[in-house]
């Protein structure tokens, strides 16, 4: 049991469209959304644009329908690597420090999934992402989405799969229960399909958070600097060492 999440809302240049997208997601019942910035990998050093600041988007976050809490907005970076010599699925699953591996739906997959690297990825906590908004737009994409998804399911047996929208416009996003039903078409069981929109998304978000911690157990928090007046009350040897 976890709240419903949509981890792929495409960030365009238009803030107003993004705002409409997030409000629509809150209206449909998603409690967590992640704004996705997509970047093509280039050989030379590249500047990655700054992510959209949530305070810029909304002064007050929209309330999720059916709850009393506001929606939670995260940001996410996706890197597309087109050159297979740099990095292919095998490498991504086993070595790269990533949280999600996105399965392309715009074309038929040129390779078959193999069980060993997928199992390694599942053990490491890496999730596989399927998107459904291309399937809404075009019937050829629909066929590719379903066939690629079924290929993946045969190997990974429905574990660590998340389904998200990749929506650019408010009309491309669907409600969480509808997306769970779509998961049935992709080959997931009923409970796995519902987990694909809730529990597995939570696991992917936590996996991302643990990258800042030591083994997922110890985290550091910045301590607020004490003011000068408080310092005088403690003897010199007991003052915390702080960098100037």
């Amino acid at each position: 049991m976890a709240v419903f999440a949509d981890l792929d809302l495409r960030a365009g240049s238009d803030l107003k469209a993004l705002r409409g997208l997030v409000e629509n997601a809150a209206h449909l019942g998603y409690s967590v959304v992640a704004i996705n910035h997509v970047v093509e990998f280039k050989e030379k050093k590249q500047e990655i644009e700054k992510p959209v600041a949530v305070s810029e988007l909304f002064t007050s976050l929209p309330i999720v329908q059916g709850k009393s809490r506001p929606i939670k907005i995260l940001t996410r970076l996706t890197i597309i690597v087109s050159d297979p010599s740099h990095c292919n699925v095998l490498v991504a699953c086993t070595h790269l420090d990533v949280d999600l591996v996105c399965i392309t739906v715009t074309e038929k997959l040129p390779f078959y999934f193999r069980r060993p690297p997928i199992n390694v990825a599942i053990d490491r906590g890496v999730s596989f992402e399927l998107v459904y908004s291309p399937a809404i737009k075009d019937s050829t994409m629909r066929r590719y989405t379903i066939s690629n998804a079924l290929n993946l399911m045969q190997i990974c047996k429905g574990k660590n799969v998340i389904i998200s929208s990749a929506a650019e416009r408010p009309l491309e996003i669907r409600g969480p229960y509808d997306v769970a039903n779509l998961g049935l078409l992709f080959g997931l069981s009923e409970s796995d399909a519902k987990a694909a929109v809730s529990t597995n998304c939570r696991a992917a978000i936590l996996h991302g958070e643990t990258r800042k911690t030591a083994f997922g157990i110890i985290a550091t928090v910045k301590k607020p600097r004490p003011s000068e007046a408080d310092d005088d009350s403690l003897p010199a040897c007991k003052k915390a060492k702080c960098e100037d």
Binding site: M1, V3, L185, G187, S189, E190, A195, S198
Partner: protein, 385 residues
């Protein structure tokens, strides 16, 4: 292929039908109504009836207020004062009175039962809390909250591949007997300091011989509002009704319809759907089960709110008495629907939400005091009792 097979399957649901008579000693009707605590909608349908009798009308109007409190911390529900005022039933002192004292000194028991349920929380996504009239506080918590509260509970039966939902059950009657116990101290510490949880609550209180506005004054420091249940009334004309025979629960071809056909038909009537199976009807091609008769008029009343089981008992008794005088109607129905986001269905049986969170029951009361009882639950539910 497994996917195709799965796509053809219907979500799991259970329907239990039984028949009995109200006069039987072992009839379970009272017990089943009283143990279904969180009732959202009560509807009754009386065929061949245009106006409601005075007694029924009064009962409908008096389904009692319910209260809505915003941001109530959970530790308020375990205070000694709350338990004594609203939860504890004060038993009659009769056993302690010496047998030589005359019966005129018998002290009537003051009975009360309090029911509470969190509002705006989804049972399959968020933490939910419910207070049952028997004094049990049930918490349905997600994994993170359960680990943070540090209370003892058990994993939910419908949790899926990874255990993500836990149920904690706290017996308030047991706690209030011994306020210095380690258990009470731990629960109090958990609710006040370790993980203070706050919810919006719907509350209802059944009491005899106590102040009317005790609940409003008790929670006056929080934003408490009193609400009256919404009542919707409609009279239908020329309604196709199935023919039923009280002895034939399963129906008899050409003679009477079965219990599940009646439930389907009742659903169609409540949704205000055409029963004619017209080919150009976009919404529904449902048609009334055969054999059926056409009834000149029928009275449908729906009460929506947070309704206590005691009020439903009174309504059921009054509907049984409907047939004390001869009436044209062969039967009347009383349907009760529970809250989709309640953590329990009957007694303390777990209730969950997969694609739908229905847990409902329906009485069909015949003119010879026979009745049919249908209880239906959805996918993530234990079997009805």
């Amino acid at each position: 292929m497994a996917t195709l097979r799965r796509l053809r399957e219907v979500p799991r649901h259970l329907l239990v039908c039984e028949k009995s008579n109200f006069g039987h000693d072992k009839s379970r009707h009272r017990h089943l109504v009283e143990t279904h605590y969180h009732n959202y909608r009560v509807s009754f349908l009386i065929p061949e009836c245009g106006i409601l009798s005075k007694e029924l009308k009064n009962l409908v109007m008096e389904t009692g207020p319910y209260y809505f409190v915003k941001n109530l911390p959970l530790h308020e529900l375990i205070t000694h004062e709350f338990i004594n005022t609203f939860v504890k039933k004060v038993f009659s002192l009769e056993p302690f009175v010496c047998h030589c004292v005359s019966a005129s000194l018998r002290i009537p028991p003051s009975l009360c039962s309090c029911c509470a349920l969190t509002y705006n929380t989804n049972i399959d996504e968020d933490n939910t809390a419910a207070l049952l009239p028997n004094g049990k506080l049930i918490l349905s918590l997600d994994k993170d909250t359960y680990e943070e509260t540090g209370l003892q509970g058990h994993p939910s039966r419908y949790s899926g591949r990874k255990i993500m939902k836990f149920v904690v059950s706290i017996d308030l009657m047991d706690l209030s007997c011994n306020l210095d116990s380690k258990k009470y101290k731990r629960i109090s510490w958990s609710f006040k300091e370790k993980k203070p949880l706050k919810f919006d609550f719907l509350l209802a209180w059944h009491h005899t011989g106590a102040e009317e506005s005790a609940m409003m004054s008790y929670f006056s420091s929080y934003r408490i509002q009193e609400h009256q249940p919404k009542i919707a009334v409609s009279t239908m004309t020329d309604l196709q009704c199935p023919v039923l025979q009280s002895s034939e629960l399963g129906g008899k071809p050409e003679v009477a319809c079965g219990a599940w056909e009646l439930l389907d038909w009742l659903g169609a009537v409540f949704s205000d759907v055409e029963l004619n199976n017209e080919p150009n009807n976009f919404i529904s091609t449902y048609c009334c089960p055969q054999p059926s008769t056409v009834v000149a008029k029928a009275y449908l009343c729906t009460i929506t709110g947070f309704i206590l089981p005691e009020k439903i008992c009174l309504l059921l008794e009054q509907l049984c008495r409907y047939f004390d005088e001869p009436k044209l109607a062969p039967w009347v129905t009383l349907s009760v629907q529970g809250f989709a986001d309640s953590p329990v269905s009957w007694r303390e049986k777990e209730h969950g939400f997969r694609k739908g969170g229905e847990h409902l029951y329906n009485f069909v009361i015949f003119n010879n005091q026979d009745y049919w009882l249908q209880m239906a639950v959805g996918a993530n539910d234990d079997c009805p009792p």
